[in-house]
């Protein structure tokens, strides 16, 4: 018995790894007990199940994505602080090489797949159906499935830290390093299974939003009258459905190599590791456009709203988005110019990479021209948008430097690259996501986030960002390579690393201010009673905040771009007021507990596969099939909201 406990704690709980694991165990245990106790004490279990876990309402699904994204930002951010603390001076002993490897792997994976992806899905869900005048997405049940696949994949990925060991082959997980021979633990399996599961959910979300946008728009809303955030969502969704299958294949083949001993990416027996790298980046580069285009969409909405001007060059914005969609599939090779495929191949990818900077540049100029002579209000969303412009411009310029294939041999995998992609992913994606969160927060919750605390967050985060990443460009040019867990004192890197780490701490403080801001505003935030706190331009601002669960009692007829703004300008907003005789019964999708159970079942399947406990995996996958079959025989998945109930709700909202 003792021998078994000893084996279990050593192999699975990793108690021989020291105080960091022990602390995590205790914290996770306490948090879990705290959540369970709070739910029981406040008698919230039923509320949690009926209102949230079983919902298929896009607004609630969006909120759950947002909460998960912020939690994952905390996890990924903590990883980043640990990495930077280890590098604060030469020869630091905070982390061992193994721990450092694990932490940079989880940092990258979480930030891209479990922070940026759910964050964009949060904004898709919150804004798009309201912007196009729809009552939900095309497939609400599938939408809930996507959410729970993401959520349980994120849980699967995160428990690796305290159960069995984290992945440690980098977020790109290149073979042969990630093959069984070099990486025998279960960490890599966690990575492969968790990404596979969340990837299925992402593909489903992509399909869902393409269909929603193309098929469910309000009458009169032609494609060229759609808000630009909706266009950005459409573009990102198109990239999702064509890029993610490549990731599915890359992960599946590597899993086969590790699980049944095939030879796709091994060195022996005719495998080809470079094939994984190609497949990975055929998904991976489009992926960065997947996470940046929604931010571009946010900036377009925010700039027009807070400059009180029609967006400059709407058509060129749409064309640029679509060009980015196409070109994004032809640049993947720039991630490995040093692979040795020859000058012609490198020239092609270098050229495509420079080409994609053009539509991106067009968009930046359009935002600037929109601001030009606008009546700019520096509210929080606008503040982050303005900060985005120079940050992204520098990131873009260093990107073009990296795109010069011969020069890239110098920059490759150095801190110059690290600084570049953090600059575009933070300065572009994260700034946009935070701006979007501030912008649509009142629509989600009915109150604004506090401006004053938000400004503290903004300045800490922005100044911290520059202090953190500017030195890293220099470090890269001085020869510091990525993924080094320590460095000797005589390289001349000491001061710059110290400065960079201070910047990372300032960014951390900025994040804490956002947390504080949210906590403070729940209680004291300015309530939004009009539904239109920013003097907005698009349909979502014609609804009360938060919107009733059927969104539009009567679907409005759209006559122009910026439809709500035009109605306000022409003093015709009364025409969109609900009239008693126009109300008709509304058909809405029913809630279901199965999407949640579907996620649980995939979690069980993934967990079994990680440890090669195939009986457990089999149970999980059988439940998955059972739920699919149950759905196939379901005919009664909608219900009717009668006219009286709609009237009751609208009267309660003061709109009838």
């Amino acid at each position: 018995m003792m021998a078994f406990i000893h084996h279990f704690t050593k192999t699975y709980l990793m108690w021989n790894e020291g105080p960091m694991i022990w602390t995590s165990d205790v914290l996770i245990l306490l948090t879990s007990i705290g959540i369970l106790a709070a739910l029981t004490y406040f008698k919230k279990w039923k509320w949690l199940w009926t209102e949230w876990l079983t919902t298929v309402d896009h607004k609630k699904i969006g909120i759950m994505y947002l909460i998960a994204a912020l939690l994952m930002m905390f996890r990924g951010g903590t990883d980043a602080e640990l990495l930077r603390t280890q590098l604060i001076q030469p020869g630091m002993k905070l982390l061992t090489a193994e721990h450092y490897d694990q932490i940079f792997t989880t940092h990258g994976t979480i930030m891209i797949l479990f922070m940026a992806m759910p964050f964009i899905f949060a904004l898709f869900n919150i804004a798009v159906p309201l912007q196009i005048g729809a009552r939900d997405v095309a497939y609400p049940y599938l939408n809930a499935i996507s959410l729970w696949l993401f959520f349980f994949a994120a849980m699967l990925f995160n428990i690796s830290f305290v159960f069995g060991g984290s992945p440690d082959a980098g977020w790109v997980s290149y073979p042969p390093l990630s093959e069984l021979g070099f990486d025998p633990g279960v960490g890599e399996n966690y990575y492969l299974l968790a990404l596979q599961i969340t990837g299925i959910g992402s593909i489903a979300t992509g399909i869902n939003f393409i269909v929603t946008i193309l098929k469910m728009r309000a009458p009169g809303m032609t494609l060229m009258r759609m808000p630009l955030f909706t266009w950005a969502t459409l573009s990102a969704s198109i990239i999702i459905i064509f890029a993610f299958p490549a990731l599915t294949v890359a992960l599946a083949l590597l899993l086969l190599d590790r699980t049944i001993g095939t030879h796709f990416f091994t060195i022996a027996h005719g495998g080809d590791p470079m094939m994984f790298i190609n497949l990975f980046w055929i998904w991976g580069h489009p992926e960065v456009y997947i996470v940046i285009l929604p931010s571009f969409g946010v900036f377009s909405e925010v700039v027009a709203t807070f400059a009180k001007k029609r967006i400059f060059g709407y058509t060129s914005m749409v064309v640029s988005l679509m060009l980015i969609v196409i070109i994004s599939f032809f640049v993947w090779g720039h991630h490995f110019f040093t692979m040795g495929t020859g000058a012609n191949v490198n020239a092609f990818f270098a050229f495509a990479t420079m080409l994609i900077a053009i539509p991106t540049g067009v968009k930046v100029f359009n935002w600037l021209f929109t601001m030009y002579r606008g009546r700019i209000r520096l509210a929080l969303p606008m503040l982050w948008t303005i900060a985005f412009v120079p940050t992204f411009a520098i990131g873009g310029a260093t990107g073009v430097m990296l795109a010069v294939a011969p020069a890239d041999y110098q920059y490759h995998n150095s801190y110059f690259l690290i600084a570049h992609f953090h600059q575009v992913l933070i300065g572009g994606t994260v700034f946009g996501l935070i701006a979007g969160m501030y912008y649509w927060w009142p629509k989600m919750f009915g109150f604004k986030l506090d401006e004053r605390l938000g400004r503290w967050a903004f300045w800490f985060f922005n100044i911290g960002f520059y202090i953190c990443f500017m030195p890293q460009y220099a470090l890269g040019l001085m020869g510091m390579q990525r993924r080094m867990f320590t460095y000797p004192a005589n390289m001349g890197w000491n001061t710059l690393n110290l400065i960079s780490t201070i910047g990372a701490y300032l960014m951390g403080i900025g994040f804490l201010f956002i947390v504080l801001q949210i906590a403070y505003s729940i209680r004291y935030g300015e309530r939004d009673l009009t539904g239109d706190p920013w003097d907005g331009r698009t349909l979502e601002w014609s609804l009360p905040s938060p919107a009733p669960h059927y969104n539009f009692a009567v679907i409005p007829t759209v006559e122009s771009r910026d439809a709500w703004w035009e109605m306000k300008k022409q003093n015709r907003t009364d025409e969109w007021k609900v009239k008693e005789d126009e109300i008709e019964p509304i058909l809405m999708p029913k809630s279901s507990g199965r999407p949640f159970m579907f996620g649980v079942a995939f979690f069980v399947f993934g967990f079994g596969m990680v440890f090669h406990w195939f009986i457990i995996a089999l149970v999980g996958i059988l439940v998955v099939f059972g739920i699919l079959a149950h759905r196939a025989f379901e005919y009664d998945d909608e219900y009717v909201i009668p006219v009286d109930e709609i009237k009751h709700v609208e009267v309660g909202l003061g709109r009838l």
Binding site: I203, A246, V249, A250, L253, F264, P585, L587, V640
Partner: protein
Amino acid sequence: MSVAQEHIHGHGDIEAHHEEHQKIKMFGFWLFVSTDMILFACLFATYLVLRNHTDGGPTPQQIFDVPGFTEETFLLLTSSFTGGLATLASRNGKKNQVVGWLIVTILLGLGFVGLELKEFLADIHMGATAQRSGFLSAFYTLVATHGCHVSMGILWLSATAYQVYKRGINAVTARKIFIVNLYWHFLDVVWVLIFTVVYLSGVTLP
């Protein structure tokens, strides 16, 4: 007819909403098929990269059995035709014909899967396992992924046939018949590519 539909029976708008629903579901399925096509494209690319990486083990010429894969092709292509006849019958409102043709399609599909398993077992018996070389890993994965899709399709066809048998032909079951056949035809197209890119070039090209 569901409770919700009865409740609003006779209401033109919501009836139209239901019709629209079926169209929306079909469009989404076309998109799903396109993602699946990318998935197969990646597997084909992997196969083409690894096809000569035999590591001194069995080569395509040694393991590909011409009569075997010809029979498989014959069964699957015929099943696509009978599946099409089921869709046609559903357009004409002939319930029994739909069920009948779906059953024929299922039987042909089962025959295909059976022949494929026989082929795999024979190959494995002569030492050509997926663990032997990069070429064989890629071969089995590509062809078996298609085989798994076909097996899923058989389950799905069966569920659809049962629903048509129980509920007759209405807007929902007609959509289901259309979609499952769309999937089935897609698998046919993938097989034609496997037939040419894997098997035919395998036995003819060096």
